[in-house]
Structure formats: C-alpha cells, structure tokens
C-alpha cells in the first residue's frame, strides 16, 4: 500500500492541460489536409488513391466539380503523396468537430481542360472547418456549467479503433472527469450519446432503442469517419452508413479514430448545446 502511494507521488501529475494548452503532437501526426485549390492542377491522382471517396470528382459539361469531405477522410495522407503539384498538404490540425454535417464538405469547380487537368478555379465553397477552438468553447462552458455531463457510449458497429481512444479519455493523461464529464452505464442516466459507426443492420434497432431510452434534452455525437459517413464501409447490405441515417446527430467528430483531444473538443462543443437546451427543456 505504502509503495503504491509512493509510486503515485513520485510520478506526480500527468494530466494534459488541453484545451487550455495545445497538446504535444508528434511531428509525424497526420491531421486535417489542406488544399490549395487555386494551385491544384489535377485532382484525379488524389481521388484515385483516396480509400473512402473523401476526395471525389465529377466532370460535366466542361466543368470539373471536386468535393472534399472531411466526414469521410481517414487521414491516411495518400492524397498528399499522390498530388505532384504540392497543392495538398497535411497539417497537424485536429479540432475538426462541427455541428453541421455540411461544414465538413468543401466543393470547388474548375473549367476542365482537354487533357483532364484543371483550368481556372470557377467557384469554391467551404463551411467553417474547426467550428471553434477548444480553448474558447471551454471558457464559454465554464460560465454556464453545473460541471456535470453523463455520456453513454454506443458502438453501433465500429472496428473498435474509436473505442480505444474513447477509453483513453478516462486515463490519467486525458482525464475527462476534470470537466465533470463521466461515462455512465445506462442511457437512462445519460445526457449525451457518443456513437461510433458505421451503423450496422444488426445494431440499428439497439441504437434506436438506446436513443429512445435517453431522456430529453439529449445530444448525439457521431464519432469518426464511420460514425459520420460509414467511412470505408460506406453503405452496403450490412451497413446503413453514418449515425445520422438512423438518429439525429448534433455534433460530428472526424478522425480515424479521432485522437482523445479531438474527441474532447467535440464533446465540449456538444456540452455547449446541452446547456443551451437545458434552458428550454426543464427536467423533472
């Protein structure tokens, strides 16, 4: 007993200070890909190697539409390697959670040249990637907060990669309880469902029932490429795709899997929504 205490004291505090302090990321960490649309001469090599169709091209009437969907991206970095013109660049940005699915999608239109390369960039539309930095969210919540949020995690068909990182939220380094957030055993005790996907045909009913058992006001957070869009599994005879194909989703956290800080960012974003809804949905 004494030795255990001694060990713990000698280790000291290991808890990271995210979101107040930026986390230590390895130089090699692969975060959000940045696209220099004006300089991008050809999207085809990137679209060809993209394992999930996160980069897609559609040619019609001399116009090429290029879509980049961070809700499908698994951050493999193959597009960066494949794009010879350097227009695709990996960044270390990980705070990617949004409340609107459309904000994860960028569309660019190019005049199409005869050789298949891009001509002039005709139009470009993008939602705000990184809705708000975690730092600001935390400050805002701190004012509102009763310092308590109960999460029920639901694996609706995941490969268990996301679960690894969700479990890591409970370790002493990420220690989610420092925000008053804890994981609970029953949806009846939960304010939030944290759902990984893709939603399989065999889990659809269980997910619907879990959602129904969660009292209002509640928020649903879809985790990872598969939870957002079905990811590499997409939709098929056994997979219904993303979580919002089955229940309404309030926050989307991209990643494959999202690192613990990315999960925290999304959960804090959702926590803001819970507080807002608390005002309009008195419990009792």
């Amino acid at each position: 007993m004494f030795k255990i205490l001694q060990k713990s004291i000698s280790i000291g505090t290991v808890t990271a200070e995210y979101p107040r302090v930026a986390p230590h990321l390895a130089e090699q960490f692969r975060g959000r890909l940045e696209f220099d649309f004006a300089a991008w001469s050809d999207a085809r090599p990137a679209a060809d190697v993209c394992p999930t169709g996160a980069i897609a091209i559609h040619d019609c009437d001399g116009v090429r539409q290029v879509t980049v969907d961070y809700g499908r991206c698994i951050f493999c970095g193959e597009c960066e390697q494949a794009s010879a013109d350097g227009a695709v660049r990996m960044t270390k940005q990980f705070e990617l959670a949004v409340t609107d699915r459309r904000d994860l999608v960028i569309t660019a239109e190019y005049a199409l040249q005869a050789d298949g390369h891009h001509g002039e960039l005709l139009s470009f539309s993008s939602g705000p990637i990184a809705e708000e930095p975690g730092k600001r969210i935390e400050a805002a919540i701190h004012k509102l907060l009763g310092r308590s949020l109960a999460i029920r995690q639901v694996d609706a068909g995941s490969c268990n990669g996301c679960e690894q990182e969700i479990v890591a939220l409970n370790n002493p380094v990420h220690d989610i309880e420092r925000f008053g957030i804890r994981f609970v055993a029953s949806p009846r005790h939960a304010d939030m469902l944290l759902v990984t996907g893709p939603v399989t045909r065999n889990m659809e009913l269980a997910l619907r029932k879990t959602w129904a058992a969660t009292p209002d006001p509640k928020v649903v957070v879809a985790v990872g490429a598969c939870g957002i869009s079905g990811g590499i599994f997409g939709t098929n005879y056994a997979s219904l795709g993303g979580v919002d194909a089955v229940i309404p989703v309030d926050v989307y956290i991209p990643g494959c899997p999202p690192r613990p800080e990315a999960l925290l960012h999304g959960i804090l974003l959702a926590l803001g929504l819970v507080r807002q809804r608390m005002g309009t949905h008195p419990r009792g």
Binding site: K3, I4, K7, S8, I11, V14, L25, A26, E27, Q28, F29, R30, V49, P51, I74, F75, C76, G77, E78, Q81, Q153, D155, A156, G157, S158, C159, N160, G161, C162, E163, Q164, E165, I166, V167, A168, N170, N171, P172, V173, F183, A185, S186, P198, T200, R201, N202, M203, L205, A206, T210, C226, G231, I232, F233, N236, Y237, A238, S239, C256, P257
Partner: protein
Amino acid sequence: MTSLLNNLRECFPEQIRAVEETASGQFTVLLNGPDATAMARHLMSGYQARLVTVFAEDRVQVEGVFYLYYVFDRPGDPSWLILKASVAAENPTFPSLAAEFPAVNWQEREIQDWFGLEAVGHPNPRRVALHDNWPDVHPLRKDFPLDTVLPPFEGERHVYRPAHGEGVFHIPVGPVHAGIIEPGHFDFAVAGEPILYLQLRMFYTHKGTEKLFENLPIQRAVFLAESISGDSAFSHGTAFCRAIEQASGIEVPARAQFQRTILLELERIVNHISDAGAIANDVGFVIANAHAGRVREILLGLCETLTGSRMLRGMVAPGGVRRDWQRTQVEAIEKTLKVVQREFRDLVAMLQSSNSTRERLQRTGILRAEKASMLGVVGVAGRASGVDLDLRRDHPYEAYRHLPFRVPVYQAGDVRHRLLVRIDEVSESIQMVRAAVTQLPDGPHRAPTQPIPPDRCAIGAVEGWRGEIVHWVHTGYGNCLERCKVKDPSLNNWPAIVEAVEGNIIADFPVINKSFNLSYSGTDR
C-alpha cells in the same frame, strides 16, 4: 511436407486431382468432389495436423462450383497445407466436421450463411453470422450485389436455450453494454450467483467486410484490412499485405521487414499493458489501471512518432511500409522503451503485491487444456491453457527468424495465467524490439509498386497480440480481389469463454471476459 504429400497420394489415390505449390511454402491439394473429411481426419490423427481455418469461395459463374478450403499446419513444419474441395452448384452440400472438431463449428455455419452450402451432419446448424431476422440471402455469393437493400429490421427472433428449475433464471446482457466495449449479446443462465451456462450471440457489428474486399482495388483494400479490428490495425494490415505479397511474389526489403516487426511488437506491448490494467480494474484495483493507462499513452506517442497514427494506421503497404524513419525516430524507440520497461516493472510489482487481486484472478475462469485444444483456441488464451502455438516461431515471417524470443506457455488456464502470459510477452517483446532496432538494416523501405497478377491464391498469417490472424486472398483482374477471407483469433476463442465461465459467479464474468479480450468486430467483420 514432401513425404506428407506422398503419403496422401498413396492413401487417397482416387481422391486427389492435383497437388500444387500455390505460393512459396503453401501447398494446395485439389480434391475430386466435396468430401475432405477422410483426408482431414487422416492429417489430424496421423500427422498431428491442426485445422487452422475452413472457408468457401463462389466460383459458380467461372467454373460451375463452389470451393471449400481447409487450411492445415503441423508442429515443426513452417509450410501450410490447403485441401481444396469442390461443391457442385446443383448440390450445394458438404459433409460437416464440426461434431468431431468443434473448432470449425462456427466457421461451417458461416459457410452455410454466406454461401448457402449446407453442412450436412452439423450438430447445431442454426444461423450464426446472419441473424434470424435476415431474409434468405447468401451475401458472399457472386450474384448477390454488395449494395443490396434488404427489407427493414423486424427485431430479434433468436430463441435461447431455456433454463428451468427453482431459483434458476436468465440474465440477458447487451448488445449495448455498460462499459465502453463492443456490442454482443450474452444470455446467462444462473442458479443464484453461479453461472450454469452462457449463450452468445455475436455478429452485431457485421459490416460486409469480406464482400467489400471483392469491390475495392487492392491499394484501398489495405485500409479496409486495418479496419477489421481497430486494436490490431497493424497486424491485420500486415497479414493482408503478406497475403498479397505471397500471391504475387513481391519481395519485401529487409529494412521494411524489420520496421514491420518493430511495429507488430509495439502493437503487442501496447495492448498487453492496457489489458493488464483493465484486468486489474475489473477486480477493483483501479490505481493499477491508471498507471497502465499512463504507460500506454507513452507508447502511443511513440506509435505516432513512427507512423503518424497512435493506432499505427496508414503505415503498412504491399511491398513494405509507406514511410521511412529518420534517425531521430529510431532513437525515440530506445528512449521510450527504457521508460516503458521501468514503468512496466513497477506495474507488475504493483499487481503482484496485492493479495486480494491475486485471490480474485487465481482459479477464476479456468479454461482446461484439453478443452482449449479441442476448440482450437489460439493466442494468449491458448498459451495460458497449454496450447503451444505462436506463428512467429512456427511460421517465421518478416524479421522474426533473426530475433531470439521465448514463447510463454502455462497449463492452469485461469485469468491469472492469461495475465501472466501477457506480462511475459511484454518483456520478450521489449527485448525483441531492442534487438530489431540494433539490427535495422539500411536500404529501401518499400518494394517498387507492380501490378498484382490475377488468379493467384495465398495465405498471409501474422501472430497478432491476441493470437493468429489469417488472411487468404484470391487475386482477380485489374488489381482487384476475387475473394479475401479473414480469420481473426477471436472467432475460435469465443466458444472458449463459454467453457471458462461455467460455474463461476456472475460478478466474475467481466474479468473473465477481459482476460480473453476478444474482438467483436474481428469476429463479425
């Protein structure tokens, strides 16, 4: 292998149509007709061969038949033997081996579900992979499109074996569990606290993976392999790449072999340490879990430095690895391992210092050696119950032949010994990674990309941290796959949990389950 093949030719002259070395060290015996049972019995009783996996393939459109593949290995021989039996489309049945060899019970039922081939004589022919509410479809048949839309879900109709008697009742658990774990349904029949029997219902996370493999170009399919079981992303990815390399004769450069070996062992160390913590946690020793979680984070930081991903994703590729390492990255390995070794030693001392923990783990969830070998249990769970198997030693691949290591094997088969196997393996793996770093050769990290030749078949097998992972591929035209069979170690080990929990109190189920720590997604695919 030559003498064994000659013996088969002598004993079964009528049955054998051809023998071929389909990939290096992989021998395929093509049979006349659908019945491989006599030869399988002969191999298992006469040659101590082990039936590693059984699966099927639909070749009706091309050759008018389905094929059944029975993969064997045997002690002291690094090659693989594959019996290939054909089932005529007009008579879609095959004789079952499950009554004699329970290891294939679920696998034969998968063949029934996926392909609509009836396993004649199967002791429990109910559906296993497709739930009872599914319509009568066979998704791995070639005439079943991947994107088929099936009628909506109508609820579970599975009937569990009833339990009768005074004070006997059922406890249904799942598919949504209380912790952060994957979905599955457990139906416990209990008499007070002790568990009479456990019935499992898996395949809740079935997501059409094997079918999807047939619809993706090979370079994208690698990422699908990484998503079979997220905690074994690198092992599954490597098993898949090895199958492709074996099928197409791609030579992996020496440097990449060592890099892969280092990453495979890191995956083992990470998962074993977190399991050690989780086992302690399930018996109330929370502080040990906290330390394990802390050490795990140190290791995940190293994983990120080496691959760009904490979960080792996006690194392995056919022909080697995607990214080479700079000197600073290689130095980080030794630096981190030094810390991890010290911390792990303290963690083990902590676990062993607690008598109450030892009390809870000892003689809990016993899987007897004879049951383990009968059920074909593999990996950590097998080695804790006397099953002395380890692909790294038995079928050496990558750089393992250059690295000395010991394979821990215990007989007791309880939770404590499943923990001890992990503890021993962490120490071995740390030494292996160190040795691999000092021997890490210079040179290319990836063979030049080349088109994959069609119509080649090969096995890729890797000893993942949980146990043996086997991928089998049949290549098609245009860099695509005709078929990819995936066998995760969890598949054979689930029925072992049923054995291990019998007679234990229900409150010990979580720790027993955790001591196996099987992958639901790897099972369900």
